[in-house]
Symmetry: C2
């Protein structure tokens, strides 16, 4: 109705928009860059909706992609159409911390200094980056797609913390999710998830992920354990637990985070008992088989890509070595 967005905070002013519409055809038509800002479990559906209206050369950016978002979007579009040049990238986290104030008003709390960004397939990264660096100067192009898409912090924190607070959330008790929910022994489970993730990264030759390095980089606080790091993050202090048990901490982070990671681990012959336990119990708690509905490397057609990555890394190729070809033959 106002023809644009009124922003305050880190950005101030009125930003007019050419077209505000619920008609997906109009939204996509003529756009150089299509930003998709939805929970990752909706990526496939959005891709199906826009597929008929896409044109050669358009760029799609998932904001953010979670794990293998760009792959899922590209594959979904290719199921219905062949477009010779279509470019799909993903950012690791939202570049802005913001909240809606009124219908056309937002408060920009913080513009992040640096957000990792990659494209699948990686050969298009330079082209896509050239096209969008003017809009998003804070993007940090990463020439290893796996490094961006597998570093999904939400999936480490959200499902596990929700699980160990499941009764309190379902009982609708108000409590501070991190300050009260992230207790010392519960954080040991987060350390285990990180360990299993790093076993995968080791096999793939990807830089080890340390939650505490990330906290240091973003918040400038040095800590020894995940527990102490979480309790130093000021932005976490006022965050209350979700109001419903079945929420995005499960419905997004399990099927587009833990499930693809677990499928990758199976293919690589890496044991992930903690991740698998959390997936299994989340399935029951939410009454939804995320293991079946979620993203897997087999469903996304990624087996060849991962194998080539391993060969490129000079690592043992589990397919050629016959290590674990179960995923292929299923």
């Amino acid at each position: 109705e106002q023809g644009g967005i009124q922003a305050e905070g880190a950005l101030n002013g009125f930003f007019p928009l050419d077209c505000i519409t619920q008609d997906i055809r109009l939204a996509v038509k003529g756009a150089e860059v299509i930003l998709i800002v939805v929970p990752a479990f909706a990526h496939r559906q959005v891709a199906q909706s826009i597929a008929p209206y896409l044109r050669e050369g358009q760029i799609i950016i998932l904001n953010p992609g979670r794990t293998f978002g760009a792959v899922e979007v590209l594959k979904t579009i290719e199921e219905t159409r062949h477009i010779r040049s279509l470019f799909v990238g993903e950012v690791q986290t939202l570049p802005f911390t913001a909240r809606e104030l009124e219908k056309h008003k937002v408060q920009i709390i913080k513009i992040k200094d640096s957000v990792n960004f990659s494209v699948y397939p990686i050969k298009h990264l330079n082209h896509v980056y050239d096209m969008i660096k003017g809009i998003y100067p804070q993007l940090n192009p990463i020439y290893n797609y796996l490094e961006v898409t597998l570093n999904n912090i939400g999936m480490i924190l959200h499902p596990a913390l929700s699980l160990f607070n499941a009764s309190a959330i379902e009982f609708a008790r108000q409590f501070e999710f991190y300050r009260e929910g992230a207790t010392p022994q519960v954080c040991k489970v987060l350390e285990n998830i990180q360990f299993e993730l790093n076993e995968i990264f080791k096999t793939l030759g990807i830089k080890q992920f340390r939650f505490n390095d990330w906290v240091e980089q973003v918040y400038g606080v040095i800590n020894r354990s995940i527990y102490s790091a979480i309790h130093e993050i000021k932005a976490y202090r006022d965050l209350y637990a979700p109001e419903k048990l079945i929420n995005r901490y499960f419905t997004e982070d399990v099927p587009t985070g833990l499930v693809p990671i677990s499928s990758l681990a199976t293919f690589l012959n890496v044991q992930t008992p903690t991740i698998d336990s959390i997936i299994h119990l989340s399935n029951i708690l939410c009454g939804c088989n995320f293991s079946e509905k979620g993203r897997t490397i087999k469903k996304l057609g990624l087996v060849k890509f991962i194998s080539q990555h391993l060969i490129h890394q000079g690592q043992r190729d589990p397919v050629l070595a016959g290590g674990n070809s179960k995923v292929l033959n299923e």
Copy 2:
């Protein structure tokens, strides 16, 4: 100091004791029946302590045994001594609901009407029952040891409910364990544990366990789901959550309940993903490898007994059929 116990409630009066001692030799000496009333994780240690002082013909009753308590006690004693006639039985739950009032005073809240009881090996059941039915008229002798020892209600409820309330317990928040902690979706996990248990029972030819039948039998309330049953049990209403995260709901019910059940399932080729997930996450939460320290059918030397039971039941024998001999060869 008083030379006995003062009881009130369902039993009233002063009950003199011949000998009150911390000297295990004196406690065991001359006893016809040795009652062991300790958490099940201490059974092995108590068995080691009493082994040197036992005499032919003595009867040991575990009060209660949890899963495979009698087997563990018998095996532990046989590791150090050979006693030709030694009888070890176990009751399914404590025959009394009671609490200590002062040092020598107890309140007997309820004497249970009927408590299942069995002996390992089963051939001694009649002899043992004849010897103790005078003391415990409420005992109900069951001629299938597995039926008594595998029906361990604590292991269904305690670890799972503690897990989904782990943060609140560790944060030392006071809350009613069942009324607030046993929420509808969390109780779905209990239904899954019961389902997996019954898959094992089906393979063993043992009567299916239904929590709701047990509630109906004990409390006279008919319910459809575990959730509604738990919330009808008056005795559960005032029960507060444990004060510490690492407590008997994990340290007893995992190693002497879920772990032996899971080892049995592995041997029988029955899938128990829910039970296994709870064991794995409990191990991390408690910083203790219950899977390794707990009771398993291999460690207890039960593989032959289970195989014979299967043959007797006319079931397929997984060892002879080569179904899953992993446990044997480990």
